[in-house]
Amino acid sequence: MSVKKRARFIEKISTGIEGFDEITGGGLPRGRTTLIMGGPGCGKTVLALQALVNGATRHGAPGMFVAFEENADLVEENAESFGWDMAGLQKKLIYFLNAQLTPDVVKVGEFDLTALLAGLEAKAKEMGAKLVVFDALDVLLSLLDDPAAERRELYRIQAWLKRTGLTGILTTKIEEDKSPAGQRYGFMPFMADCVVRLGQRVIDRVAVREMRLVKYRGSPHVLNEVPFVIGAAGVEVGASNGVHPEPQPFKMRVSTGIERLDEMMEGGIYRGTNVLITGSAGTGKSTLSGLFLEAACRRGERALFVSFDENTRDIVRDLASVGVRLAPHLKTGLLRIESVRTEAASSEDHLIRMKHLIREHKPACIAVDPFSALVKVGGELAARNVAERLIYLCRNERITALLTSMIEGTDVTMETTPLHISTLADSWLQISYSLHAGERNRALTIIKSRGSKHSNQMRELIFSNSGITLTDPYTAGGEVLMGTLRIEKENAVRTMAERKRHEIDHKRREIELILAERDLRLVGAQRDLLDCSEELDSLALAQITSTSERTQRQDAVVRKRDDKLVREQANGAKPAGGKPCKRSKAGNEQP
């Protein structure tokens, strides 16, 4: 580390503590002193120890822990409970020093910490330590029993840290307040380059841990109070003010579990995004959560159901009653239902727990129901912060999330959520009770669906034994009809159609009848026509026949007459007696 470099900016060492590096802009100041202060039980020791352990395990940086108050064995035991392998680390990376004076030590005059510092310096050289923790410095100082001596020894430690180039973490129970002790040790923060104050507050009977960076010399940092928790893996700081990278969501769609809802949303939810479902009590938010996860499991995806204040057995049973079957998926392990008591922890604790659940179970889809339960514990501001971070977490992990939120009251026009997360959510569905004609019906509206077209029409949500579906919208007089009104309308429409059909049938029959009659008439007329023509033909025939007969007769007469003439001419005197007879006869026939 060159002098030039040191003069320019503070070099930092990562603590590896989630959120802490974020608010400090990279970690603790390297080669400088950080003071962690706070009341008893605030987590000072854990924070310091965690930085030490992480430095050793992640960066291979050896460190020393000097315990002035607690016995090192106790500290070690405590550390093991967070899953840190102290026994393994102590072999070469971490050195523990029990630095408690036995109670029967007699003070006989002035003394200083030279022995301790000389010893630590030698040890640091031997093991190549980079970090040193002085835990519970206040206990050491109280031995000195003299403000001037206390100040002198503190400066001695500070000078020693500077000289050795070690990064120091000092913890102290001393609070910055108006109490005598506070005033007496009020100078301590001035000595350190970085001051972290830990606190504990009780909001709505839930303890909330808070951390504030009071000071960070030469470095920008988050000044706000930020929540933190001491969870199963140690300290986790709920930093939220950083810029979150937003990964591109998948272009694929995920089913909501309701086919018709998917249709309304152009094929479902984009994978990796989140849907907020708001609604008052009993509108079916949990059912939609269940459906969504059931659909995920059916696709063979892992799913996580975080339910506040309802136990797993009840959830499974209640959802089964509307045809959502979760039990088989629980059995296969695809689905995990985590039932959480809201009041058991602060919202920050809940977030951490969810975070760990997500890491353990690695779900592709998650439902948190009701997400708004977080507001109940530890104040709204903290809850909103937690809500935001959960959304960011899901986005980063590419988990498709369904979050439900309770809305008090039945005002359907009230489109605000207690957590004000509606602006953060990618999609927002509202289930409301529609009050009409003495009925409450569930109505679903898509208020927002980022990145896709969606139906803006309100639809009725119907729950039945056979499942859940959305109806086609029926509008009348500018209103969407639901429940009985819808059924009436459906019936009316059906009757109307029926009547129309009857009318048409009737008309058709009438026409057919007419047609048949006309056909008949036509047939009759044709027959008449035929008869007439036949008669005509026969008449014509008859005429022809009679004409030919007459001609033949005339011919015969002519022939006969000619024959007679010929004979008379031949006989010479043949009387023409017979001829007149015949002629008269012929003359009779021929008037």
């Binding site: 007699v106 006989v108 005059g109 200083d112 030279t114 022995a115 301790l116 000389a118 310096e121 031997e126």
Partner: protein, 106 residues
């Protein structure tokens, strides 16, 4: 650094054996050393032993023996072991701790 015979032999005879941890020539260390010698000369002129350990020269030893401050004086024998911290300027307290009669002025 022994001034008289070995500690062990003195211990066997009920002699006073002390170990003092000092930090080089630090003023309080120098004062403590001087006071200890004076005390031994006065109260146990024939049977005392003082071991002096400079933590600046043997820092690891101080650490191993859990010595946090200098000067520290440990009375090893006679039993029980007694640890005193400070430059021994509080003479009254020193004598009381060692179970010696308070020095009458003069």
């Amino acid at each position: 650094m022994s001034r008289t015979a070995t500690g062990a032999s003195h211990a066997a005879h009920g002699a006073y054996v002390f170990r003092i941890y000092i930090a080089g020539g630090a003023p309080n260390s120098v004062r403590a050393l001087a006071s200890l010698y004076a005390l031994c000369r006065q109260h146990f002129p024939e049977s005392h032993h003082i071991e002096v350990i400079d933590v600046l020269k043997e820092p690891m030893r101080a650490l191993a023996e859990a010595i946090l401050v200098t000067p520290t004086v440990v009375k090893i024998t006679p039993a029980p072991e007694l640890q005193m911290i400070g430059d021994l300027s509080d003479e009254e307290e020193v004598l009381r701790a060692l179970g010696l009669p308070q020095t009458t002025s003069g």
